[in-house]
């Protein structure tokens, strides 16, 4: 394998891109220096490949090949398509913040009602002053690349004690084919606040595009946050998302991700429990078909005692698709009485479907209760036969059993409306199989 060639190849593509994109990247001269440094880090590392332990199941050099040039500013026709896509994917009653091809679209967003309850800026605006948001303590190449090329994002701050009356929905719309969008957002939830955040990734007529998103989330003490991410990108798209989450004390954070799109996707979440008495629930569903590759990589870091974390992950894998779940639970020496569990199950709908599961427990405290479990298998023939004997055709019988299978993760979403919305997306995925 000519990895070295691939590395130079992709590095050079970006190199050219960086030079040509530089004029379009927002930020003060200080920001530009940070970007250049981040880019150099990326160029040194190249795209992650299988010999990088964290990426061993998701070799981006092989899967993605090269980084595409930045998307051009959307024209009127593209914006019109974006409006339609937003309409189709909007959560009823939610305050929308829309990014089209990586740039905030004020006209498609509900800024006015939102700012009555939360403070809002675009990444572009904050970069006019300082580069703080481009800095993360990560050595990951895709995150460095994101810092170098992030064009926009949302910067949200929910005040202490705020009780948001409606969900906030960030919608990433892709309208440009064979181009990439780099976005970076920050969400800060104050002490005692209550909020629901939804992120949607959708296509508006675009194909073969690439998304590289980074989100930095910080949740204060005594808060109650539901965070739902719906990745429904075009079937030939690439979506690489990194999330950095820090959670305070006595907080409830309920995260859910569903992957129903993209040829290649990776959601890497790094969640640090930094305050005692917090309950974290992280749940995910991958619905993969054809040759799709979907990777969910989660690191839950119990940095303090007395927190509970629960992870439920379900993968439904059809055709020659490949699902990856890597879950690491870290329990720091002080984090006594940690209760951390993860359970992952994969449903293989074809003989060529593939599931990789890598659970890791790194426990440095002695009085803890941690565990993980994993299963992988086909649909139960006796259940299928029972349903068929009652008149359900094969695919419909499968659909009912698949819904039940993913239901175990979806039912962790507390809000009825959001749960129904998610079930609807899963149902449409199943209908496309029939």
């Amino acid at each position: 394998m000519n990895v070295a060639v691939a590395k130079t190849g992709s590095g050079r593509a970006v190199s050219d891109l960086f030079a040509s994109a530089e004029g379009r990247l927002p930020g003060s001269p200080g920001v530009t220096a940070v970007r250049r440094e981040a880019f150099e880090t990326y160029e040194r590392l190249g795209l992650p490949h299988r010999r990088i332990e964290e990426w061993k199941y998701t070799d981006l050099r092989a899967l993605m090949g090269e980084v595409l040039p930045l998307a051009a500013t959307p024209d009127a026709a593209a914006l019109k398509r974006a409006v339609e896509a937003v309409k189709a994917h909007a959560i009823a009653g939610a305050r929308k913040l829309v990014l089209v091809d990586g740039v905030f679209a004020a006209d498609l967003s509900d800024v006015k009602p939102l700012v009555a309850e939360a403070s809002f800026k675009t990444l572009r605006e904050t970069l006019a002053r300082d580069a703080g948001l481009l800095k993360t303590a990560s050595t990951d190449a895709v995150i460095a690349l994101n810092a170098a090329l992030a064009t926009d994002g949302v910067v949200l701050s929910i005040a202490d004690g705020a009780q948001l009356s409606a969900p906030i929905q960030i919608i990433h719309v892709a309208t440009a084919a064979s181009a990439s969008a780099f976005t970076r957002s920050q969400v800060t939830v104050g002490k005692g606040a209550r909020a629901t955040l939804v992120e949607s990734f959708v296509a508006a007529g675009a194909a073969a595009y690439q998304v590289n998103d980074a989100v930095i989330i910080s949740v204060g003490d005594d808060a109650d946050v539901a965070h739902i991410r719906l990745m429904d990108d075009a079937p030939d798209a690439v979506n690489i998302t990194s999330q950095f989450v820090t959670v305070g004390a006595n907080t409830k954070l309920n995260f859910f991700n569903m992957t129903t799109g993209a040829a290649v996707s990776r959601l890497q979440g790094f969640i640090t429990l930094a305050g005692e008495g917090t309950e974290l629930s992280v749940n995910g569903v991958n619905l993969l078909k054809k040759t799709e590759h979907g990777d969910t990589t989660l690191v839950v870091d119990h940095a303090v005692p007395n927190c509970v974390s629960r992870e439920i992950f379900r993968a439904v894998i059809d055709d020659r698709a490949h699902s990856v779940f890597q879950g690491r639970i870290i329990v720091r020496p002080d984090a006594q009485k940690t209760d951390g569990k993860m359970m992952t199950r994969a449903l293989l709908l074809s003989d060529e479907a593939e599931a990789d599961n890598k659970p890791e427990l790194e426990i440095f405290a002695d009085d803890v209760s941690c565990g993980h479990g994993a299963t992988a298998g086909a649909l139960d023939d006796s259940l299928l036969f029972y349903l068929k004997a009652r008149g359900l055709p094969e695919k419909q019988a499968q659909a009912l059993l698949i819904q039940a299978f993913v239901g175990e993760a979806i039912e962790q979403i507390a809000d009825d409306g959001l749960r129904e919305h998610v079930i609807g997306i899963a149902e449409r995925w199943l209908e496309r199989r029939q």
Binding site: D380, Y386, A389, R390, G391, L392, E394, F405, G407
Partner: protein, 249 residues
């Protein structure tokens, strides 16, 4: 008219022949009982009629309303009116009984080119039937058979039978695991479905069930064949003498 004709049926499971040339004819409006020792092939016969995979038919045929049943997928058989109440109904966690019932009923109706039930009509029908079978409504919200007692599972089978209104009902040991009251309720449910167009095949080990569901014909199955057929008095005879006389054959 013959509703079901099983002719000289030979069936293998994992290279072993279980049914060795079984013949059985059931006419519209009739109730047939099949009795026979453990392992004689009663459930195998019912599974082959319903279309369960894993059985190899090496000889013979099964006609249902004159059509070749073995050519049909299980769901086609169901839509055409074949219903098997399983000896061991499976549990399906995560699929609410109500959702299952509606999906199944509408799938059958769709296959027959009939319109789907509206939600109110469906709910009304389920409520009526479940009430007559003493099935509490909250049971229908649970996963299919999940956490149901043995008796409840059997009643759920009869509930489905009443909802789907099949023309051939095969009841495989419907009475096992039922207490006396539950047996009477279930049998009443079955009797309510008796009609000149509908036939039933009742597989049982106990003559007692046949006091409630009185058969027109009783068959004795032994070692993969029907070895004797007669009237309802044959069941009483068996109760007295056991199967030894047939085992020798």
């Amino acid at each position: 008219m013959a509703l079901l004709e099983v002719k000289d049926l030979k069936v293998r499971v994992e290279e072993r022949e279980i049914l060795h040339g079984l013949t059985l004819t059931v006419n519209e409006g009739e109730v047939h009982a099949i009795m026979g020792p453990n392992g004689s092939g009663k459930s195998t016969l019912s599974h082959v009629i319903a279309g369960k995979p894993g059985y190899e038919v090496t000889d013979g045929q099964i006609l249902f309303k004159g059509e070749d049943l073995l050519e049909m997928a299980p769901e086609e058989r169901a839509a055409k009116g074949v219903f098997l109440a399983f000896q061991y109904p499976v549990e399906i966690p995560g699929v609410a009984t109500m959702t299952f019932l509606r999906t199944a009923l509408n799938a059958q109706r769709k296959a027959r080119g009939e319109s789907e039930y509206s939600t109110p009509d469906f709910l009304k029908k389920v409520r009526e039937v479940s009430k007559s079978l003493n099935i509490p409504q909250d049971m229908l919200k649970r996963g299919v058979n999940v956490g149901f007692s043995g008796g409840e599972k059997k009643r759920n089978e009869v509930l489905q039978m009443a909802l789907f209104e099949p023309s051939l009902c095969i009841l495989d040991e419907m009475d096992s695991g039922l207490d006396i009251d539950a047996l009477r309720i279930a049998a009443d449910g079955v009797n309510a479905l008796r009609s000149p167009e509908r036939a039933m095949v009742v597989i049982t080990h106990y003559q007692r069930l046949l006091n409630y569901i009185v058969p027109d014909v009783v068959h004795v199955m032994s070692r993969g064949r029907v070895v004797k057929s007669g009237g309802k008095e044959l069941a009483l005879e068996l109760e007295a003498s056991g199967y030894a006389q047939f085992e020798a054959a």
